[in-house]
Symmetry: C2
Subunit: 372 residues, 2 copies
């Protein structure tokens, strides 16, 4: 597809030529009418992809900054937050919340599992003081997509007034979300995922209920203050100097997404997820994710017994120009991860699977004990 | 100089062609060896331009995020911070500190004035509990460059152990700083200023004394945690996904700066500052800055009595493709600001001065009362 590498990590993802051209645009004044027009187009395009009429603010930071903004804008010191975690990125949210003095109740499931709505109901019933719930939509470390609609229903059933915060960094733009219909108060996305642009921007959708909470929440915030972002956007700008190049790119990428169509984008990701899982299974690789909740954007597979994961990844890059990702947290060294989101077609993944087959059949990779 | 516009705001600044080409580079994995090499080159280049052996961390955020990182990493709730402010950006630092629960003592000088070292000595003597001092090196709203070396001496004289925090966003890279020799513990810079790349990265130099403070300071932080940034950099990466395109651009821009030479860059900025001030004075425009402390990177001038500043800026853009900036804070509507930093030569500014002369001589701009 014209890329130098077949970059198939779960973000950053490859850039279409029109996006790369937009990135090379010269600077403009960030307080002028030209930027106001771009910001409006980006905001409208994001609301379309988030399928929401909620406000969407754009912050210059990577996704972790977006997650920090969620904590800083919705919670009080010592407030009780239920973090339903499926792995590495759920853990990260718990770490951010603890760093800000939030009282985190962590609810973990085993790697590869989704959160069961019934268990969330039970857990919430046992936690009468929890008014805020966090879930990861798509856990990239394991390749699991939570049943977000059902989890949101579970929250509404037990605690209708609670705030539901969602890490949608590896889902929104590639997977359907319906913030209003499901009752998701806050959803965070990251620019280097399905959006086909580089890292450096994070997008946050904010419900009226979340705005009410924001007005009274007392954690310190400045750079990540949503109210400042909304007020500046109403006047055609951002409160602090924005990463202009990424806005140029985002406007173009949203145009490409609009041409393809949202339903078509979601269907393509579902199809490519299935295609990747089938291909990996054909290579006798065991998938980490419960097949009922396998992710449309990333697939995590255990490397076979005796195979050195790092060596396999290196061979894929050196011999085939295929770049995949390794494991994170407790899965480090045990798995490989294939990203299939953003600017990706079946041929790209066919090539990845072919390269994997070649390397797995090669004796060189079966030597984890003899490397050093 | 090949730019579409003659963009002369005090940031963002125009991009050299090689930088624009670098921005268009396709994505790479941010946990691989290629990025580790780029990160190392960028960090080394920044230390060269900061003229320091202190650690320099690179954060994905605009300069205001860098300033927030300074507060969050060095202070405790309720700690007393002396903010010596020359205007809008000094005010911003005071706002950030207050948002984080810091006890700010603000020490203001009139617009156009620098901080007098003697007055800083007096003020510090009157504030025995202040262990942290903040100064803006270059106040962009007024075009004043503080005598940083002398101010640092003043701090060391009264309170040798205090931490000196510096907003160097509109100076470092274009103006000399000597963190060790002067005793500046923390200096923040921003990518869209003299560095010739887009906004979205902020650079922070951190002294051993600042690291000691950081280890014990108790304000909440996660995304902006310096320790996480340093630890990840030691391993060839960043703690959160970096704005890769801006790193590609930074490596190239630092190469261009190295070719020109640091002494030459500083001399060019000093010369262009003088050239701009002389040219504006020839047009009978009154400068805001005390001439003893006029900035080498930005010049602020009052618009003549009866001239509508917004209309003047619009005419410059429409008729000459020259983009300048208006006033901020209490100077809004009263001044225009000319940026002369980064990728700029005398011809660019000659053109700005010519365009200004044409517009000031035109009857259309002398009509602030009759606009609406």
């Amino acid at each position: 597809m014209g890329s130098q590498q077949n970059l198939r990590t779960p973000g950053p993802t490859p850039l279409p030529p029109a996006v790369r051209e937009a990135l090379a645009h010269d600077m403009i004044a960030h307080r002028g009418r030209q930027f106001a027009t771009i910001l409006r187009a980006c905001t409208d395009g994001l609301k379309w992809a988030f399928q929401t009429q909620h406000d969407v603010v754009i912050l210059t930071a990577s996704g972790s900054g977006g997650l920090e903004s969620v904590i800083a804008n919705t919670l009080d010191p010592g407030a009780r937050l239920l973090v339903a975690s499926m792995g590495y990125f759920g853990e990260r949210m718990a770490r951010i919340a603890r760093a800000f003095g939030v009282d985190v109740v962590q609810f973990d499931v085993a790697p590869g599992q989704a959160i069961e709505p019934d268990l969330l109901v039970d857990r919430l019933r046992a936690e009468p003081n929890v008014q805020t719930v966090f879930v990861t939509h798509n856990e990239t470390s394991t390749g699991v997509l939570n049943p977000l609609r059902e989890l949101a229903q579970a929250v509404r059933q037990v605690r209708p007034e609670a705030l539901l915060l969602v890490d949608g960094i590896r889902s929104v733009g590639s997977v359907a979300v319906e913030p209003e219909a499901w009752g998701c108060d806050v959803i965070v996305a990251g620019s280097q995922k399905g959006w086909m642009i580089p890292p450096g921007l994070t997008f946050v959708s904010i419900s009226p209920r979340a705005w009410e909470r924001q007005a009274h929440s007392r954690l310190p915030r400045f750079y990540f203050d949503w109210q400042q972002a909304r007020r500046a956007a109403d006047e055609g700008g951002t409160p602090w100097t924005p990463a202009l190049s990424l806005f140029f790119a985002l406007e173009v990428a949203l145009g490409l997404m609009h041409e393809e169509g949202l339903a078509e984008i979601f269907a393509r990701h579902r199809h490519l997820g299935q295609y990747t899982r089938d291909g990996l299974a054909d290579l006798d690789l065991r998938l980490v994710a419960d097949p009922r909740f396998a992710s449309p954007t990333v697939t995590t597979a255990y490397v076979p017994e005796g195979v050195d994961a790092k060596k396999l990844l290196r061979s894929l890059e050196q011999n085939h120009n295929v770049v995949l990702a390794g494991g994170q947290g407790q899965l480090e060294g045990k798995v490989l991860r294939v990203g299939h989101m953003g600017w990706v077609q079946q041929d790209d993944l066919a090539f990845v699977l072919h390269a994997l087959e070649v390397e797995l059949n090669s004796a060189h990779t079966f030597s984890s004990g003899s490397r050093r």
